[in-house]
């Protein structure tokens, strides 16, 4: 699989603040790429640079084989972006918005109208086309934001906290649409989120801190490296758990032990003849907390 995004030594400073610090990473075509980090880590800044909305200080960004410095128009046609906060014209209708934005990609007339109807059906807002954007609910507006990003059938969809503040139904609708497109069109999805369960489904994860990568890998690799598995034992007494010499917590009916590997678990269970137990892999939440060493400061819903 080829790399559709290649970022090398990207740096961006605002005065004395280094928002993106010599950052390098690659994204493979067709994958779901999760770009994580605490508030202010530099995610939105990186995204703005990738879609040529913000000038960088140094480094190179290659998107689908085109350099953003020399071929920015090609890059812009390949990218669809959902910004962290909605950027549509609030006093115009949904249809007006989609039509005026479509025109910026040289989509016009019938062709554009068909495409708008198509995305409206896909994201289930055909009944909202005549409504004023400013008067829609947050979740309704988010669907329009996504539709706007998909208008020109981009190869890469960039989503900056797309699901913050959405109800579970809208969230699952969005994810269904996005993963269908990912499969049917081999679209690459570049996702920023503060919901770790969304990141857990990613093909590759990068965790950013202070503009630098502090960990990266597949969710499995990250969980193996950064999060401990937990083994919960039931129907045993405190003495036998203490006897294992492993840190544990009492949890209702059982005892929760932190184990370092499945192998260790196997040994414990077999040697002691425990027969009611539950093994849970570490979670992305744990990975995130371990890597950033900070509490995760939820999304600042806008």
């Amino acid at each position: 699989m080829k790399n559709i995004i290649e970022i090398q030594n990207l740096t961006k400073t605002y005065g004395s603040l280094t928002a993106v610090d010599n950052l390098s990473f690659k994204v493979k075509e067709g994958e779901l790429f999760a770009f994580l980090g605490v508030n202010g880590a530099g995610k939105s800044t990186t995204i703005n640079i990738m879609c040529s909305a913000l000038a960088k200080d140094s480094g190179s960004v290659i998107i689908n084989g085109n350099n953003i410095d020399t071929d920015s128009d090609k890059v812009k046609n390949d990218i669809g972006v959902v910004f962290q906060s909605s950027v549509l014209d609030k006093s115009l209708t949904v249809l007006d918005n989609l039509q005026s934005r479509g025109a910026l990609y040289s989509l016009h007339g019938k062709e554009l109208r068909q495409r708008i109807d198509e995305v409206a059906r896909l994201l289930d807002f055909s009944d909202l086309l005549k409504r004023t954007v400013g008067k829609l609910s947050g979740g309704q507006r988010r669907r329009i934001d996504v539709a706007r990003a998909l208008l020109h059938k981009p190869k890469i969809l960039i989503l900056d906290e797309p699901t913050t503040g959405l109800d579970p139904q809208t969230r699952s609708l969005l994810w269904k649409v996005i993963s269908n497109l990912q499969k049917s069109e081999n679209m690459t999805v570049f996702l920023t989120t503060h919901y770790m369960e969304e990141a857990a489904d990613a093909d590759y994860v990068v965790i950013l801190d202070g503009g630098k990568i502090s960990a990266d890998g597949t969710p499995y690799e990250l969980k193996t490296k950064w999060a401990r598995d937990t083994l919960t034992l039931y129907g045993v007494d405190t003495e036998s758990v203490e006897g294992l010499g492993i840190p544990f917590e009492r949890l209702g009916d059982g005892y929760k032990l932190y184990v370092s590997s499945p192998h260790e678990t196997k040994t414990i269970v077999i040697e002691n003849g425990f027969d009611d137990f539950e093994l849970a892999k570490g979670k992305m939440d744990d990975v995130f907390l371990a890597v950033t060493g900070r509490e995760l400061l939820g999304g600042d819903g806008k």
């Binding site: 910004f83 014209d89 609030k90 025109a103």
Partner: protein, 299 residues
């Protein structure tokens, strides 16, 4: 091309969605009209009478007609520029709402984008100024002035040209602004100074020679003078036909800036058109070029 049209349509729609904006922009010239009529009408008449030595009589209608011409040319020349500044806010508003960011990620040509802002502002400015002009013409008609159909059409076309100038200047300035507050500040600065530096509040002939030279370098001056010609000349023709000596009529032409001098050389009406249209063209080119060179949106 379709892209340009579509963008322009969006910009105009956004302008007219804000009904308050349209009416406040329209009200400025109307307030000016009321103020001028109530406070300056007699001042103007007196200043005209001063041109006539004792013994020469002139009909009241002629005096009134010159005063009306002076009045509406002042109001309209100032309005075209100030209204353009008031209504040219979309470019900045887009930076504030983030729409500019959304546009920056599309492959649209910056030249088209900047022209779409220009055209939209021009259209809304023109609609407002034409409305104001019609009101002024109705007033002139009610005052039984010598402004005829031909003069009315010429004045309307002057308004269209000056609106282009106002839109071009405000577009260039607004390119460098990033908030609504800055726009209002610049807007009020322009409204308070433009009337003086373009000779609309006070005839240029009353300024000191140095100031006259400086003012003759500013293109707005020629816009005011063009309007003075179209609003007053027909009355002066009547004056001459009624036997008022040519020297007096010529003195009035000089005194009311129908004649304007560029370092001692008189600039004719053709020259005024040339100055205005060339300036507009040059400013639009500058505007588009700065838009194309400053590519990225700094947020």
């Amino acid at each position: 091309m379709t892209t340009l049209l579509s963008m322009t349509r969006r910009n105009i729609k956004l302008f007219f969605h804000d009904k308050g904006l349209f009416f406040t922009s329209l009200i400025t010239p109307l307030i000016l009209l009321v103020l001028y009529v109530s406070f300056l009408g007699n001042v103007y008449k007196d200043s005209i009478m001063a041109f006539f030595p004792e013994g020469i009589t002139v009909s009241e209608r002629i005096v009134d007609s010159v005063a009306v011409g002076q009045l509406i040319s002042s109001i309209l020349s100032v309005s075209c520029v100030t209204v353009a500044f008031c209504s040219n806010m979309l470019m900045v508003q887009d930076k504030v709402t983030g729409a500019a960011l959304d546009i920056a990620v599309t492959p649209v040509k910056r030249a088209y984008l900047s022209l779409s802002y220009y055209i939209a502002t021009y259209v809304s400015t023109s609609i407002i100024c034409i409305t104001a002009t019609l009101v002024c013409l109705a007033y002139a008609n009610a005052m039984n002035s010598y402004i005829g159909f031909r003069e009315a059409v010429l004045l309307l076309s002057d308004v269209l040209i000056l609106a282009m100038l106002g839109t071009a200047v405000s577009s260039i300035i607004n390119f460098f602004l990033s908030s609504q507050g800055q726009i209002s500040a610049v807007g009020s600065m322009v409204s308070s100074t433009y009337g003086f530096v373009s000779g609309a509040y006070m005839p240029i002939s009353q300024f000191s020679p140095v100031l006259q030279k400086i003012i003759s370098l500013l293109p707005g001056t020629y816009g005011t003078s063009l309007m003075r010609n179209h609003a007053i000349a027909s009355t002066l023709d009547v004056m001459e036909a009624e036997g008022i000596p040519t020297e007096i009529v010529e003195a009035i032409r000089d005194g009311f800036d129908l004649n304007i001098y560029f370092f001692g050389n008189r600039v004719g009406v053709g020259g005024m058109y040339a100055v205005l249209l060339l300036t507009v063209l040059l400013l639009i080119v500058i505007y588009v070029v700065i838009n194309c060179t400053c590519k990225k949106v700094r947020k």
